[in-house]
Symmetry: C2
Subunit: 480 residues, 2 copies
């Protein structure tokens, strides 16, 4: 059988030898990412983009169910508009890309490509919000943003990345906080229920929160190499932006009041998280709910009479049952096909040949465990459904074990340092709340605070760093 | 009953008095568009964006059914890459926005924000296309692009606009032409079947075609004011781009060959077309298939017992039947509500009060004709469905009549000029194929060639302009 020399499935680097190189190999060999002449930017190839579309479909549904509508704001922000909120501009201006010419003319005022769009939303609300009847404003935008990063990596750090940014405005602080927490939970549910990624939910310290926010809620995931990935953040701004932009409304008693704002976003880096949570030495392993192909159907001895038709019949049945199925009847060898779809992380492979036809059966091979089953074609839809569910659960449990096995309580900075060097993962310690101790942790143990988790434990009374009375328990780790 | 002073439904300009002002009034009063501090760019507000989402959903399904996959390319193009195809850069460079600084550093090479992405797709294909097995490449991208226009108008001409750009690569010219025509037909079906806009399908003259294309297929629609709107174009590039970018592949006999390219796009200006085709002096009139709200339910005497519940029950039934329904139980007056949803072009209004409840009926009012019917609640789903279909057909027929009544054959340039001044619309004439005559038509009669329609008629033997032997029949008009 002919094989395409240019589509040879090549070996990838062993993840235990060089995790970073393994990761890059998977991104390119699974055809998720393409490099371009635009430095620091990547192409999301069809297979990578399809994963994002599945994430989008889930989130867009959840956002709409919770009353949000989509909008499109301009991609350019005049410099004077970006400067309206002091903390915000300090955080973002140093990493903006600046447009200085339009056509052949130099602009009077330069504009940045949006690094995030709080300023545009606030400026719009200042125009259209007048009365308590106009509130809440529950907006979302699917778009890309630019941040001029010095070093970049596929999915994890792009100069341009795709995301959604939700922006909302509320009559009261309570409502705004409730919204911030609601969207935080939706991100956690995306991770756990859809992506099979266990999460630690909590709040960022003041040092780590978003530029201009009063509170930043975060989701922290542990990757296979035990590093942390921040995955979706939700910010409560108080009324700071609203004051800076002059947004006010007549309340029910007809007095002018200032509203409260939130924003929340999740990006394509989530796909990097999926790769580093579930992947193995044969490539990508995709959680079934976002896999662009859930079942790859491979005819065996496809030149024999009736084989293609029998395979097509199964494809049709599975599609009808709502699965994302593809048949590969190309003249590549079965061995090539097996390796190709393993590299692409397709959760289930279905093989069907003349012998199976005689027995009214097919072969199902799980990508996660490699387990092979002979199953009856009667009710194959239910069997596939059950297996995809099992794969989801199995992936989640494996990742959960990795998180639990590599999270430990430490009483002192020295202990954090020792455990980080010997094991890696998340250290939990008590903390006084002082930024000086956070900086010291970074300097001496190489870790940053990941979050103040909602699930607090009283590990002791004093800060692991300075010995003063402790305020919170904090998670520490090395982050992507 | 209380009314929101700031949401008063205001009078709009009479469309027969000042069509341009009427158009702008509708865009703002129906809350489709917002103005911003970024000059020449607009906000697509939730109601405007929801129309785009419905157009997207239709097209995305059609694109996927015809084998296309979505991708995301970078938004920035280095100047040297844009310059690779000569005609293309000449067409686009003068209207690009240029990024010259990233963070605090001046870039070595400036980059433009994509005005269109042929150069990025071609550069990527040069990397990944090697064999006939890799073809065809059937890609699409949903994104926004920038063109530094001097004058802008909502939807019709933005410096930034949302669109989709399809880019495909094929082994043979025949296949590429077939693809170009397939996508052209899909745009026509969007217009006719979904947006109720009759179209003239044809080919652009050399003067009017896309920079770098061998052929541009276009769809031309006639607006209520008899001007033309170009609405979706599909380009066949031959192998020009592929040669410029060094894309080649090993064909089945293992010889190196050059592939053939297409691109095709439709933008948010289509929404401008919908407004100007169907709108009236009470505001927007939306074709049911893209209306964000298809049925607005307005409880009558809503404070009376059981009224809200009865209305909610109808909403639930209609939602279950798959309609996009909203109930407005706010304390605004019924008169305010009627005007508000008329302004927003909602196809059907359903009223239900205590008297209707007694008779097991409701009132349905059509936005297009104002016709009011009392209909039984039994089978209200079918009645609504039938009425929405009738509205679609009615809108289409009215627009078709406008197109037919204002399209006429002319034998001479003088006749074109006279008819254009007295009536406006589309003139069809024979044409020699010479650009000089096209320029003369523009100069003397103020019209541009809209297209060489597929449905050719032999109106005479000679060019209406120069009297030399005619090659084609051409449509002429004043375009947006």
């Amino acid at each position: 059988m002919a094989q395409d020399k240019n589509k040879q499935v090549s070996q990838i680097t062993d993840m235990d030898v060089d995790f970073a190189q393994w990761y890059t190999d998977v991104c390119t060999k699974a055809e998720l990412i393409g490099y371009t002449k635009t430095k620091g930017m990547f192409i999301l190839r069809p297979y990578g983009y399809a994963i994002w579309e599945n994430i989008q479909a889930y989130l867009d549904r959840r956002f709409k169910e919770t009353g949000h509508t989509n909008v499109a704001m301009p991609m350019l922000i005049p410099e004077s508009l970006l400067q309206k909120e002091k903390d915000h501009v300090e955080g973002f201006a140093p990493e903006c890309a600046w447009v200085t010419c339009g056509g052949s003319e130099k602009l009077d005022e330069r504009m940045c490509i949006r690094p995030t769009s709080e300023t545009l939303f606030c400026d719009h609300w200042a125009d259209i919000v007048h009365s308590w009847r106009d509130l809440p404003m529950l907006y979302n935008q699917w778009c890309s943003v630019l941040r001029w990063e010095k070093t970049t990596r596929p999915f994890l750090r792009h100069r341009e990345f795709l995301w959604q940014e939700g922006h909302t405005l509320h009559a009261t602080a309570e409502e705004a906080i409730e919204e911030t927490e609601r969207m935080h939970r939706i991100y956690a549910e995306l991770c756990e229920d859809v992506l099979a990624m266990p999460v630690v939910m909590g709040m960022k310290t003041d040092k780590e929160k978003f530029a201009g926010a009063e509170r930043t809620y975060t989701i922290e995931c542990m990757m296979h190499d035990k590093k942390a990935l921040q995955n979706g953040t939700s910010h409560y701004f108080g009324d700071g932006f609203a004051r800076a932009f002059g947004i006010s409304f007549a309340d029910k008693s007809n007095k002018q009041a200032t509203p409260f704002e939130t924003s929340w976003g999740i990006t394509t880096r989530t796909i990097g998280g999926v790769i580093m949570t579930h992947g193995d030495n044969r490539g990508l392993v995709l959680p079934p709910k976002v896999a662009p192909i859930q079942v790859i159907v491979i005819p065996v001895a496809q030149h024999k009479e009736g084989v293609i038709e029998a395979n097509e019949a199964v494809v049709e049945r599975l599609q009808k049952a709502g699965f994302r199925v593809k048949m590969d009847a190309s003249d590549n060898s079965p061995g090539w096909k097996f390796a190709e779809y393993e590299m692409k992380g397709v959760p289930l492979r279905l093989e069907l040949g003349p012998k199976d036809m005689e027995k009214n059966q097919c072969v199902l091979v799980r990508r996660d465990s490699g387990e092979k089953s002979f199953v009856s074609l009667d009710g194959v839809e239910d069997t596939v459904n059950k297996m995809l569910e099992d794969i989801h659960t199995g992936l989640y449990q494996r990742a959960k074990k990795n998180l639990e096995d590599n999270t430990y309580a430490c009483a002192t900075l020295a202990e954090v340092k020792e455990k980080m060097e010997s094991q890696g993962g998340f250290a939990k310690t008590m903390w006084c709340g002082d930024q000086a101790c956070e900086l010291k942790m970074k300097e001496e143990a190489g870790v940053s605070s990941r979050c103040i988790p909602f699930e607090q434990e009283r590990l002791g009374d004093v800060c692991a760093c300075c010995g003063k009375p402790a305020k919170h328990m904090v998670y520490w780790g090395v982050a992507y």
